[in-house]
């Protein structure tokens, strides 16, 4: 009995260590493009704002799915939240997780909408691709 319990606890410990609950910043619907240069960031970013852009042209921001044309209201809201916390939107990083089949024009429109809300720093997220 004892070796079996030893092994079972080992397995539990293994899965407990590997589990990650950080699903809030990921979305299974989005298939990211891959790039060999996409290295994970060294440290946590300052005030990250995640925008998921689907290939249907909708944006998932903070759990709401809104059409691309209506995303400005959400972005202005995010900018105002930052100002209320005495931060500038220019310091925040907008992380754009766009699907690889999204038309580029949609990404450009999203970037433009962010710029109108005074965001300046963008991070285009891609999957890490190892070329060997």
């Amino acid at each position: 009995m004892t070796p079996m319990i030893d092994m079972t606890f080992q397995l539990i410990a293994f899965f407990m260590v590997l589990i990650n609950f950080t699903e809030a910043d990921q979305n299974a619907r989005i298939q990211l493009p891959s790039s060999e240069l996409a290295k994970p960031p060294d440290g946590p970013m300052e005030s990250p704002i995640f925008l998921h852009l689907t290939k249907e042209g909708t944006v998932i921001v903070g759990g709401d799915e809104v059409p691309l044309a209506a995303v400005r209201a959400n972005l202005f809201l995010e900018a105002n939240v930052l100002r209320a916390r005495r931060q500038s939107p220019a310091d925040a990083t907008v992380i754009i997780r766009a699907d690889k089949k999204t038309p580029t024009g949609d990404v450009q429109q999203l970037v433009q909408a962010c710029q109108e809300a005074k965001f300046e720093n963008f991070a285009l997220r891609a999957k890490e691709e190892r070329g060997f």
């Binding site: 038309p103 024009g105 300046e120 720093n121 890490e128």
Partner: protein, 163 residues
């Protein structure tokens, strides 16, 4: 004698294994079910304030302005790559050309080089990421990243086809 008998009974406590194993297996099943292999994700950082869009002059005049034009067909597939006036057939060719321009050992030149990506509206985003990858650097066999052009910006979006 009586006391001794009592002690002997106490020593025979049996540990209840079955409920513990039940719970342990429940836990194990929970962790196995929620286990998901997550692919590492990385970012391309782009600093692009609104004011910079209105044809801001380059900081250093010695750096030629670079404009990467990506054309697409109606289905969103890539049909052409042009850097200024030169056409390329694939991103590898573009990558070698960029190394030829920027890959010299002048860090200041590398820092001030800027590229503007001008793409057709319907082009699929994966090609843009491939273009950014080929102009912004490469990975050495030792797994270090060598940077080429760090300043990337987008042109304003073109009108969507048919709208």
């Amino acid at each position: 004698m009586k006391i001794r008998m009592h002690r002997h009974d106490d020593d025979k406590i049996e540990l209840q294994m079955t409920p513990m194993i039940d719970i342990v297996f429940q836990l194990l099943i929970f962790f196995v079910m929620t286990f998901k292999i997550v692919v590492q994700e990385g970012d391309f950082n782009i600093k692009m304030p609104l004011a910079a869009q209105s044809s801001a002059p380059p900081i250093d005049d010695t750096v030629p302005p670079m404009k990467l034009r990506l054309t697409a067909n109606a289905a969103g597939d890539l049909t052409g790559i042009r850097l200024n006036d030169r056409g390329f057939t694939n991103f590898e060719e573009l990558h070698q050309h960029i190394i030829g321009i920027v890959g010299s050992d002048q860090p200041s030149f590398r820092e001030s080089a800027e590229i503007e990506i001008d793409s057709d509206y319907q082009l699929r985003y994966e090609y843009v990421v491939a273009a950014i990858t080929s102009v912004s650097g490469y990975r050495t066999p030792e797994d270090d990243v060598v940077k080429l052009i760090e300043r990337i910006r987008f042109s304003p979006p073109k009108k969507a086809a048919g709208s």
